[in-house]
Point group: C2
Chain length 221, copies 2
Amino acid sequence: MIQQGKIVPGALVLSENEIIEKYKVSNTTARKTLHELEKAGWVTRIKGKGTFVRNNTVERPVTRIFGFTKNMIEAGRKPSTKLLGFHLRENDRVLNLNGRDYVLKGPYCEIERLRCADGIPMMKETRFISTQLCPGIQKRNLEQSLYSIFERHYNIQLVEIKQMLSSVHLEGEWMKNFECKQPIPAFRVEGVSFSGKNLIVEMEDSYYRGDMYRFSVSAVR
Amino acid sequence: MIQQGKIVPGALVLSENEIIEKYKVSNTTARKTLHELEKAGWVTRIKGKGTFVRNNTVERPVTRIFGFTKNMIEAGRKPSTKLLGFHLRENDRVLNLNGRDYVLKGPYCEIERLRCADGIPMMKETRFISTQLCPGIQKRNLEQSLYSIFERHYNIQLVEIKQMLSSVHLEGEWMKNFECKQPIPAFRVEGVSFSGKNLIVEMEDSYYRGDMYRFSVSAVR
């Protein structure tokens, strides 16, 4: 009911006693149910007040260079990162955006990470980072913010990220990544990051859960 | 195969004779098949050259106030608009973006339109237009660009549109709107349009086909 929007964020959900009465279940089952809802991030239990539906959607401004860590902290969530793996690649990597080809010169390091908020998987990202500009990056702690690694260890500041957003539907293997029981809509974000004039530091190919994210943007003349 | 990306844009597809041979069908069937693919917008037939897979994806810059008509013309497509209906509403309309409530003062006119490119449905939009600022707009030709109606008849120029993008999955009734045989991913775009300082002219709630659209945006510090 929460997932379908039938109970809205901020609403009080049934108490243990109400669950027991309404569904004719034991108090162990009722307690377990509420506990599972909380663990999955759907509700927050406030002692002495009750259990409330959480607003799970996070807003992300798309026109700001804005790391996941910072985005989550601003949204009042606890960010964490799980490294899924990395590979060193020798070839160049080409990305076409708006009809133009951008080239990340090899060698580069391909890093796959799962990013969570309050323990809930929110997005899966693949970053392709120039090892010419960031030598030895694979030996760093890759569960940290990569932006802060760029700045602290390589003295690199990103000045622009060109991005392309697609809307996709995730099923099968993807549901495992995100610990979902049903297929979910998602944003795919492909990007090229520049430091200084036309110097490509990295590329990105990320999937943001559509049930967890909304992208805000302002258009002008 | 085209839909799944197994044959890429620009590639030559089988000729009538090759279809007849490969699939053991009549020449009527082969011709009809190619004709249907063309009608659905998947391929372009160039006389004496063959049948080629079209690039169906349109890119839309999200940070520019950029009407559908203009967007399609720039992409080399022929735009058309089908009015689905309109209603006059008396109440105010509230939209929450980025945790802030925006109010469009009633009365307003709610206009539903299907927008096509080369006859293919690309997006369905609902516009909510202040009739205090645009009196009698429902009597205009609503299959035209509404931006040009604003400018020509009401001397209104939009200066900013605040937007929120979500990723959704369209099924059931929606597939009928878009003449699709399968559920499709889509972008939902909700927006508030301003003319001058804080004057809300209209709100919008649109669905862009995810298999037809990509949104481009640049992020900076």
